[in-house]
C-alpha cells in the first residue's frame, strides 16, 4: 500500500513525513522523523513514556495514528528546551535528582509541562493524579513530585 503524506507542525516547525496507514505517531516520531526522545515502554498507553502534546493536549503518541497528526501542533520532549536553554522543569529535575535511568523522564517532563501550562498552583495530590499515567520504576516518584511542585513555585515567583 502506498505511503500516506502528512503535513504537521512539530515543536513549532512545519514538518512533512510519509507513513503507513497503520503507523502510530510514535512510530513516525521515532522512525522517519528521528525524534527518539519519545520512548516506547508498552505501546498500549499504559506507561506514558511516549507522552506528547497534540494541540496542547497531553497524549500517548503510541495510541494515535501518525496520519492523525495532519494539521495538528505536536509538542515533544525535543521542543521543551528553547535555544539551548533548559526549561525550568528540566533544570529542576537535574537539581533535585528526579531521574535515575532516565527512560521515563521525557514523558514525565512533557506531562509535567502540560500540567503547569494549565495549573501553576497544583497541590501534591493534583500532581500525583496528573502524573498517574506515567510509570517510573526507579524513583518511587518522590523526587519527581517534589521537582514539579518546586518548579511550579519558582515559576509562580518569576511570573509575579
Amino acid at each position: 500500500m502506498a505511503k500516506m503524506h502528512v503535513s504537521t507542525t512539530i515543536n513549532g516547525e512545519p514538518t512533512e513525513f510519509l507513513c503507513d496507514a497503520t503507523d502510530t505517531l510514535l512510530d513516525a516520531l521515532r522512525g522517519p522523523l528521528g525524534l527518539t526522545g519519545s520512548k516506547e515502554g508498552c505501546a498500549t498507553g499504559d506507561c506514558g513514556a511516549c507522552s506528547v502534546t497534540v494541540d496542547g493536549r497531553l497524549t500517548c503518541s503510541c495510541l494515535m495514528l501518525a496520519a492523525e497528526a495532519e494539521g495538528r501542533e505536536i509538542g515533544t520532549i525535543e521542543g521543551l528546551s528553547q535555544g539551548g536553554k533548559l526549561h525550568p522543569l528540566q533544570q529542576k529535575f537535574l537539581e533535585m535528582a528526579a531521574l535515575q535511568c532516565g527512560i521515563c523522564t521525557p514523558g514525565f517532563l512533557v506531562a509535567s509541562k502540560a500540567l503547569l501550562d494549565r495549573n501553576l498552583e497544583p497541590t501534591e495530590t493534583e500532581v500525583r493524579y496528573w502524573l498517574a499515567g506515567n510509570l517510573c520504576r526507579c524513583t518511587g516518584y518522590d523526587k519527581i513530585v517534589h521537582a514539579v511542585l518546586e518548579t511550579a513555585a519558582e515559576m509562580r515567583g518569576a511570573s509575579r
Binding site: 527518539t36 520512548k39 537535574l94 535528582a97 531521574l99 535511568c101 527512560i103 521525557p106 510509570l135 518511587g140
Partner: protein, 751 residues
C-alpha cells in the same frame, strides 16, 4: 585521604554528567540506535507451556520476499547438559536454552526460532510461516505442584535424592543446634507463607542492534554489563571475544533483569547469516512473558524466644520457583533471612524448583525480600506474643560487630543497630494513627558484592579530566564517580567528564549488579586518581627541579612540602597539564582490580497503611526507610535508590503478581493488568541515610541499591495487621484478598 573538615564534593548533590542528555531526550538508549541497511529481527515463541519440538520447518519463511535470515537453536553452540559452562553466576547450558529452545519448549513464550527481514511487518509475516510440530506435554507452574511425586518432569537430567525431579538444587546453612535452641524457648511461632512471581518492571523493553562486518561484530544493547554481553555472545556463537565489541547503550532500568542476555546472541546470529545490521526490540508483552520475573515461593519460618525477648533458635525453609531452567535465587532467603539477628541456633534451607514459566532473572537483592517477608512477619508475631515493642525486640537481638551469621561470616563493623535506633527515635514511630490505619516495621539485609572493576583517569591538555569506567550507569553512578574524582584531585566536579567505556575501550568490569558499582568502581577510580596525583607531583618536582617526595598535592595544586623543599608558587592542575609534553608526556592512569570487602547492608522500615474497608484497598499513607549506606557519595541518588526500592517492595506487597490462565499462559502480560505502583498510589517516601563507614573502602562506601526492597513486604503486612487485626500469609495483599478476609471476619463475628 581527605579529612572530613575540607570535604568539597563527596556528599554533595552535584548535577549528574549524563543529566542534560536525559532531560532533553538526547540520551541514546538501545532502541534509539539505527544503521544504514538495518533490518529487523523478530522471535517466534511457543504457544505451549511444555511441549517437545518434533520438527521446525522454516522453508516458507525463508522464501518470503524481504526475509534475510532465519535461525533456530541449531545455529547456536550446543552445550551438553552434563557439563557446567559458567559465566559469573550464570550457566551457559541454561542461558542458551532459555533464549532459544532446544528439543523442548518449557514455557509459553519460549523462543523457538527467529527471523530478520527488511521491515518489522515482513518479519512478523515470516514468523507465521514457520511450521513447528509440537508434541504437547503436561505442564506445571505452581511450586508445590511441581514437587509432587506425579508432577510433570521438565528435565530428564535433573534428579533429586536419586529420582527424576523438578528440584534442581538445594542450599543449607546450619549454626548451633536448633532443636536444643527451641527447647529453651518460652515462645515458639511457626508460620507458612506464599509469594507470587513479580517482574522487575523496567520501563525500557530489551533492545539491541548488532552489526557484523568482516567477521567483526559490534553490539549496541541495553544491559547491566557490556562484558557479560560479549562473554555470552562469544560462548553462544563460538566467536572469539576480540571479534565482539559490546557497546553499552544508556539503560532504561534493569533491577537485575538485564544481567543476562535475551536478544543479543540471536541478533548476532541473524546479522552473521544475513550480512546486514539487525535490530531487535521486545514488546512489553514479550518482556512479561519471556523475561525473568523473580521467583514465586512457599516458605515456612519458625522462631523461638525466651520471655526476656532473646531469640534462641530460628529455622526457615524456602521453596523457590526457578522457572524453566535451574537458578532460583535461594541464597537470598537462606543467607539473608535471619542475618539481621544474633541468633545462636539457626537452620535455613532452600530449594531451587523448576516449573513451566519463564526462567527467573535477578531482581534487586534476589530472593532476600522473600526471606525477609517470612522472617519479619514471624518476628512481629513473636514481639506481640512477648508483649515487646517490635523494634525493641529487633534491637535486643540485633547483629553487630562480631556476630556470626548463619551463612558463614563474622560481621565486621555494621550499622544494623543504628537503623533500628534511628527508627525508634524518629517522629514517625510515635505519630498518632487515624481510623483504619496501622503501623508496621521490618528489617532487611543484603550481602552486597565487590568484584572486578577497571577505570582510566586521563588529564586533558587544559587540566580538565576524563574518567572512563566499565559499568553501565543505571541510576546515577557517573555522578558519584565525578564527585570522588573531583574530591581527590581538588578540582570542581564540572571539570570531570565521566564515560562508560565499551569492551574495547576499558578493561574487564563485572556487571552493574549486587549493589557493587559505586563501591567497586570508586576503588578503581581512587587508585587511578592517586597514581595520577603522584604523576602530577613528579611533574611539578621536575619543573621546580626538586625531589618528588618534597611535593604535596592540596586543593588542586602542587605545593612544596615545606620550607626546606624550596620556595615555589603552587602549580595548578591546569598549569601542570599545559606543560605535560615537556615534562614527560600525557598524564593519566588506569587501574584494574578485584574489589573485596563489600560488606553487607541493613535497613529498617516503618510503614503506615490505611485500609478502605468498603473496597479492600490498603494504601500506604506514610513510609520511612532507614539504611546504613556506609558513606553517601551523592546523597540525592542514595535517597533515590532507597525510595525506589521501597516503592518496588510496596508494589510487591500490595498488587503485583503473575497470574496464569488454565492453559498455563500468563494472563496479565501488560502494564494495565500487571499493576505496578503509579504516582497516585504512593506517599512521599522519607529516606533516612545512616553512615557507618565501611572500613574496607577508601570512601567508606557500602552498597545501597538492593537493601531497600527487602523490608517493605513484611512492613506492609505488619501494618495491615495493625490496622485490621488480620494477618495475611500470602502476597499480594490485593483488594480482593483483603475484602474476602474482612467479609470472613464479619461473618464470624455475626455468628
Amino acid at each position: 585521604m581527605t579529612s572530613e573538615s575540607n570535604v568539597k564534593w563527596i556528599g554533595k548533590n552535584t548535577i549528574r554528567p549524563d543529566g542534560a542528555d536525559k532531560v532533553t531526550g538526547r540520551a541514546a538508549y538501545a532502541a534509539d540506535a539505527t544503521m544504514p541497511g538495518m533490518i529487523w529481527g523478530k522471535i517466534l515463541r511457543s504457544p505451549h507451556p511444555h511441549a517437545r519440538i518434533r520438527s521446525i520447518d522454516t522453508s516458507k519463511a525463508e522464501a518470503l520476499p524481504g526475509v534475510k535470515a532465519v535461525m533456530t537453536s541449531a545455529d547456536f553452540v550446543e552445550f551438553p547438559v552434563d557439563t557446567p559452562v559458567p559465566i559469573g553466576i550464570q550457566d551457559m547450558r541454561w542461558m542458551s536454552r532459555n533464549i532459544m529452545a532446544r528439543d523442548k519448549v518449557l514455557f509459553a513464550g519460549h523462543p523457538v526460532a527467529a527471523v530478520a527481514a527488511t521491515t518489522e511487518k515482513i518479519a512478523e509475516q515470516a514468523l507465521e510461516l514457520i511450521e513447528v510440530d509440537y508434541e504437547v506435554l503436561p505442564w506445571v507452574i505452581d511450586v508445590e505442584e511441581a514437587m509432587k511425586p506425579d508432577a510433570p518432569i521438565l528435565h530428564d537430567h535433573i534428579r533429586f535424592e536419586g529420582k527424576p525431579s523438578n528440584i534442581a538444587g538445594k542450599l543449607e546453612h546450619t549454626l548451633g543446634d536448633v532443636e536444643a535452641g527451641f527447647a529453651q524457648a518460652d515462645v515458639v511461632i511457626e508460620r507458612s507463607f506464599r509469594t507470587e512471581p513479580v517482574h522487575q518492571g523496567y520501563i525500557e523493553p530489551h533492545a539491541c542492534l548488532v552489526s557484523v562486518s568482516d567477521g567483526k561484530a559490534t553490539v549496541w544493547s541495553s544491559s547491566q554489563g557490556q562484558f557479560m554481553v560479549r562473554g555470552m555472545c562469544a560462548h553462544m556463537t563460538g566467536l572469539p571475544q576480540n571479534d565482539i565489541r559490546a557497546i553499552p547503550a544508556e539503560i532504561g532500568g534493569g533491577f537485575g533483569g538485564k544481567t543476562i542476555v535475551y536478544l543479543e546472541p540471536v541478533a548476532l546470529v541473524l546479522a552473521m547469516k544475513s550480512g546486514r545490521p539487525v535490530k531487535m526490540q521486545m514488546t512489553r508483552e514479550e518482556v512479561f512473558r519471556a523475561t525473568g520475573p523473580t521467583s514465586g515461593s512457599v516458605s515456612k519460618v519458625k522462631i523461638g524466644a525466651t520471655k526476656d525477648g532473646k531469640i534462641v533458635a530460628a529455622e526457615g525453609t524456602w521453596w523457590l520457583q526457578a522457572g524453566a531452567l535451574p537458578g532460583a535465587p535461594i541464597r537470598g532467603p537462606v543467607g539473608c533471612g535471619f542475618a539481621p539477628y544474633d541468633i545462636p541456633n539457626v537452620h535455613t534451607l532452600g530449594f531451587d524448583v523448576v516449573c513451566n514459566r519463564s526462567k527467573v532473572a535477578a531482581y534487586r537483592a534476589p530472593g532476600s525480600p522473600i526471606g525477609a517477608y517470612a522472617v519479619e512477619c514471624v518476628m512481629d508475631e513473636v514481639a506481640e506474643a512477648l508483649g515487646i515493642d517490635p523494634l525493641e525486640l529487633r534491637l535486643r537481638n540485633a547483629a553487630k560487630e562480631g556476630t556470626k551469621a548463619a551463612y558463614g561470616p563474622v560481621f565486621p563493623r555494621i550499622g544494623y543497630e543504628e537503623t533500628v535506633r534511628a527508627a525508634m527515635e524518629h517522629p514517625h514511630y510515635r505519630a498518632p494513627l487515624g481510623p483504619n490505619q496501622g503501623r508496621g516495621v521490618a528489617s532487611g539485609y543484603w550481602f552486597n558484592a565487590g568484584g572486578e572493576s577497571s577505570a582510566q583517569v586521563n588529564i586533558n591538555e587544559d587540566g580538565s579530566v576524563v574518567v572512563i569506567t566499565g559499568h553501565p550507569d543505571i541510576g546515577g553512578s557517573r555522578a558519584s564517580t565525578a564527585n570522588i574524582t573531583a574530591e581527590l584531585l581538588g578540582i570542581d566536579y564540572r571539570k570531570v567528564s565521566v564515560l562508560i567505556g565499551d569492551t574495547s575501550v576499558i578493561g574487564f568490569s563485572n556487571l552493574t549488579g549486587g549493589s557493587r558499582v559505586t563501591y567497586a568502581s570508586a576503588m578503581a577510580v581512587t587508585e587511578s586518581t592517586r597514581e595520577v596525583i603522584n604523576t602530577l607531583k613528579a611533574r611539578a618536582a621536575k619543573i621546580w627541579g626538586i625531589d618528588p617526595e618534597a611535593v604535596i598535592w592540596e586543593n588542586g595544586e602542587a605545593r612544596p612540602a615545606g620550607e626546606n623543599a624550596g620556595n615555589f608558587e603552587p602549580l595548578t592542575l591546569a598549569e601542570i597539564a599545559a606543560k605535560a609534553n615537556s615534562t614527560g608526556g600525557p598524564i593519566g592512569a588506569g587501574k584494574q582490580l578485584n574489589a573485596v570487602g563489600a560488606e553487607g547492608g541493613f535497613g529498617t522500615h516503618i510503614c503506615d497503611v490505611e485500609v478502605d474497608r468498603e473496597l479492600g484497598i490498603a494504601r500506604v499513607v506514610r513510609y520511612t526507610a532507614f539504611q546504613d549506606v556506609g558513606r553517601a557519595i551523592h546523597p540525592a541518588y542514595v535517597e533515590g535508590q532507597i525510595q525506589g526500592g521501597a516503592a518496588q517492595g510496596i508494589g510487591w506487597a500490595l498488587n503485583e503478581e503473575y497470574i496464569y490462565d488454565k492453559n498455563g499462559k500468563l494472563d496479565n502480560a501488560s502494564f494495565l493488568d500487571y499493576r505496578m505502583p503509579v504516582c497516585s498510589d504512593l506517599p512521599m517516601i522519607e529516606a533516612v541515610i545512616i553512615e557507618v563507614p565501611n572500613p574496607k573502602h577508601p570512601q567508606g562506601v557500602r552498597g545501597v541499591g538492593e537493601v531497600p526492597i527487602v523490608p517493605p513486604l513484611a512492613a506492609v503486612a505488619n501494618a495491615i495487621y495493625n490496622a485490621l487485626g488480620i494477618r495475611f500469609y500470602s502476597l499480594p495483599m490485593s483488594p480482593p484478598k483483603i475484602l474476602a478476609a474482612l467479609e470472613q471476619t464479619e461473618r464470624l463475628a455475626a455468628e
